[in-house]
Subunit: 220 residues, 2 copies
Amino acid sequence: LIELTGISKTYHMGEVSVPVLHGVDLTIDAGEHVAIVGRSGSGKSTLMNILGCLDQPSTGSYQLDGREVDTLDDDELSDLRGRMVGFVFQSFHLLRNLTVLQNVALPMEYQGVATPERHARAKELLERVGLGHRFDHRPNQLSGGERQRVAIARALSNQPSLLLADEPTGNLDSKAREATLGLFDELHKQTGVTLVVVTHDDSIAERTPRVIRIADGRIQ
Amino acid sequence: LIELTGISKTYHMGEVSVPVLHGVDLTIDAGEHVAIVGRSGSGKSTLMNILGCLDQPSTGSYQLDGREVDTLDDDELSDLRGRMVGFVFQSFHLLRNLTVLQNVALPMEYQGVATPERHARAKELLERVGLGHRFDHRPNQLSGGERQRVAIARALSNQPSLLLADEPTGNLDSKAREATLGLFDELHKQTGVTLVVVTHDDSIAERTPRVIRIADGRIQ
Ligand SMILES: Nc1ncnc2c1ncn2[C@@H]1O[C@H](COP(=O)(O)OP(=O)(O)OP(=O)(O)O)[C@@H](O)[C@H]1O
Ligand SMILES: Nc1ncnc2c1ncn2[C@@H]1O[C@H](COP(=O)(O)OP(=O)(O)OP(=O)(O)O)[C@@H](O)[C@H]1O
Ligand SMILES: [Mg+2]
Ligand SMILES: [Mg+2]
């Protein structure tokens, strides 16, 4: 499903160059469950943004579902992402003027799902992550762990074939963490979603079938 | 140093009431090192905001350093906070238009510290948290764990007598976590700062002299 070849990424801040990823080669088959582990600043979120087609590499090639990503125009890319990818962002990126329910329903709205259906599904997902009592709150009326769980529910709302989760449990207590990991495992079993999780938590890495280690922008 | 008596907090969203803290009694002596542990949504950040004089309780009394906090006007409160309190926020709250260095120097600027001195101290703190190579980045040009470390450095910049750290290691790998906890311990030894840390991480709670458990807004 995923084929990265020679992927490098350098950020440019005026005259300063910040090289972050160096010659990354990575193959992930459809249906795999993978953890990406590395230190703070090693390039994990940068790699995730490229996998999720939210950012382009400086050099190298990315084939997603057989298609060369840099040959797609913005509309095709946006369409591919909307249909295929669910993203749990490290900093959540919830829309502050929408309620929790509206935030989770939004990806389905973009895919043309009818209102009663997407609200029912959003409610079901929110109950699965323990937020059935927070539908009408706005993100700034939630705790940190609650925001993280809304981000998780939103990532699942379009039944993605590729789920990218960047530190999905950093703000969660052990009970909420277990519920989240259980939800991911269940989704993986039921739908065969390809699941890529970034984590510092070794206990999560240990229960993941395949662990990819990254250091200073290079895959080990 | 800290005396909470009968503290309750209810949020109001239009007609809906969300009761969060119930009858909290809590005494913390100067120089103590305390961990507050509880599930997501149990009221930890709400309690921290009251301790840091950023939010007022609905009922009850808060004595900080012998002064009844609700008798202070905004200026006195802001002055007390600026001198005494260092806060590591769960969502960092860095200023996006300032560089990392300026963000860390800002509390010292408010306390009238001269420019060369506060820049030297900010640099030193940033090096202590491993960010000596990121002085000129803006917060949106940092990784999640780097933002968290900037928030940590900023909280320490005014040499606070009360350090409130809300989930200070949620985005950090084990090496950066150890460095942070070591920095807190060292500060505690050298300056006798009163240190209150919110965490889900049992391994952090285990190494803290006193652990306060909170559930559904009540201290156990
Ligand atoms: N402004 C607000 N309006 C309404 N409800 C709020 C508001 N802020 C927080 N809450 C609710 O209060 C409860 C406690 O929030 P708080 O942020 O104190 O939890 P917490 O213990 O820090 O959780 P976490 O571990 O997830 O950060 C949550 O259930 C949250 O939904
Ligand atoms: N827009 C940007 N401009 C310049 N440098 C950046 C930018 N975004 C990230 N960086 C730098 O790139 C490096 C890698 O960032 P990235 O977010 O991929 O790290 P990470 O592995 O996800 O770290 P963490 O575990 O702390 O989240 C960091 O050192 C960061 O300072
Ligand atoms: Mg990251
Ligand atoms: Mg909190």
